[in-house]
């Protein structure tokens, strides 16, 4: 009798919830690789004609020289764009974006930022994003789209002259592209630090739960 009851208990127990489905994890890491290649080769290209009074040290660039940087940049862009596009389509089609990223309220953001800065932001249920996460994850998706579009506009300013004009002309578009990169790098730093501070979130992105 008792063994049957025990067996029933076992079947009643819920399986560990999947926090990050396989497609999210695969696309996340693919994007990470692609984004790092884009940033490093992008820095190599920047060095050929810097926008500001500094250059990126050769040890952190990819390509060796302008031509090499361009080749890597225009190769990795396919990985970034194709993976990114499939991610956007799947995110919208499965309703994941709606469920995970909305709503974002100003009061929610303010209170969660305060809690985060005082190390009081709880992470009990990893399947629910707090307001800081929602804002940054939604935000980085938008920045990702803008960086791709601004990149295309400075790569093909004659063929895509309407797009280049949308970004304020060729010179301004270069700055838009750079600022997006800086935003992504800033996000990366915060993102990696926080993932390491809450290791179970990193685990969830690797094995799903």
């Amino acid at each position: 009798m008792s063994s049957l009851a025990a067996a029933e208990d076992m079947t009643q127990q819920e399986p560990a919830k999947v926090i990050q489905p396989a497609w999210v994890r695969a696309m996340h890491w693919t994007n990470a690789v692609a984004m790092i290649m884009m940033i490093m080769s992008g820095w190599q290209i920047y060095n050929a004609s810097p926008l500001f009074r500094f250059s990126f040290p050769g040890s952190i660039t990819l390509g060796g020289w302008l031509a090499g940087g361009l080749l890597w940049h225009f190769a990795a862009m396919w990985l970034l764009m194709v993976n990114g596009l499939i991610y956007l389509i799947t995110g919208f089609a499965t309703g994941r974006f709606r469920r995970k990223l909305f709503p974002i309220t100003p009061t929610g953001v303010i209170s969660d930022v305060k809690a985060a800065l005082t190390f009081r932001l709880a992470h009990d249920d990893l399947s629910k994003y707090n307001y800081v996460q929602k804002l940054l994850y939604a935000g980085i998706i938008v920045v990702g789209i803008v960086i791709v579009l601004s990149g295309l506009s400075i790569w093909k300013p004659v063929q895509l002259q309407w797009l280049t004009a949308l970004f304020g002309g060729y010179d301004t578009a270069r700055y838009v592209h750079f600022i997006c990169m800086a935003s992504i790098v800033a996000f990366l730093v915060i993102h990696v630090v926080l993932a390491l501070l809450v290791p179970k979130s990193l685990r969830a992105m690797i094995i799903g739960r």
């Binding site: 290209i45 920047y46 050929a48 004609s49 990819l62 060796g64 302008l66 361009l70 080749l71 890597w72 225009f74 190769a75 396919w78 400075i154 093909k156 300013p157 004659v158 063929q159 002259q161 004009a165 060729y170 010179d171 270069r174």
Partner: protein
């Protein structure tokens, strides 16, 4: 022929140089789109090899570059023209860009200089500046965008290359037009025929 040699990189056999460059030049016909696309399956090459600096990485990058050329040939409008600007927007001063200082720029005597013509053309006569100026001139104010990333709006006056090629009976079925400058080491570059 002797004068020609002075313009090329010293110590390099110009025939072999052209042959080498031809190998790297992409084939602009659409047929190649499929073969270039198929070799993207060589992504598996990335596993287990020194990704960044090796020959296989270079080969892979070259293949992707050809693929990009094919995609662009497929989706872009070959007749698209660069936007023009009012003269007030001309960049002043116009940037000087070279691997040497302005003071070290070579001095070319205008009245002695000639445009030499070679290759798949009917009329290989050389042209002096005065002869070139007599041809019909066109002016445009467009943005020069360097591959390095900087740009400057300038006013460009001269004979359209397209008209000049017609005049000298150039074989427009050729894929590239190659020009060489009269500067220190003969800076040269190709231009694809469609753009020319």
């Amino acid at each position: 022929m002797g004068r020609m040699r002075k313009l090329l990189i010293p110590g390099v056999d110009k025939k072999l140089l052209v042959k080498d460059a031809m190998k790297v030049m992409p084939d602009l016909t659409r047929r190649r789109f499929i073969s270039a696309g198929a070799s993207l399956g060589a992504l598996t090459m990335l596993t287990g090899c020194d990704v960044v600096d090796s020959d296989s990485a270079d080969q892979f990058l070259a293949q992707v570059s050809k693929f990009n050329d094919a995609v662009q040939a497929w989706i872009f409008n070959p007749d698209a023209l660069a936007p023009t600007y009012p003269e007030s927007m001309i960049t002043k001063p116009f940037p000087f860009n070279a691997y040497y200082d302005l003071d070290d720029a070579p001095e070319i005597e205008g009245k002695d200089w000639k445009l030499e013509v070679r290759g798949l053309v009917d009329n290989k006569k050389s042209w002096t500046l005065d002869e070139l100026y007599k041809l019909s001139q066109v002016k445009q104010v467009t943005r020069h965008i360097c591959v390095e990333g900087w740009s400057a709006i300038g006013s460009w006056t001269g004979t359209p290359l397209r008209d000049f090629l017609k005049l000298i009976g150039a074989d427009t079925k050729a894929k590239y037009v190659w020009f060489q400058c009269a500067d220190k080491e003969g800076y040269n570059s190709p231009l694809d025929m469609r753009t020319a």
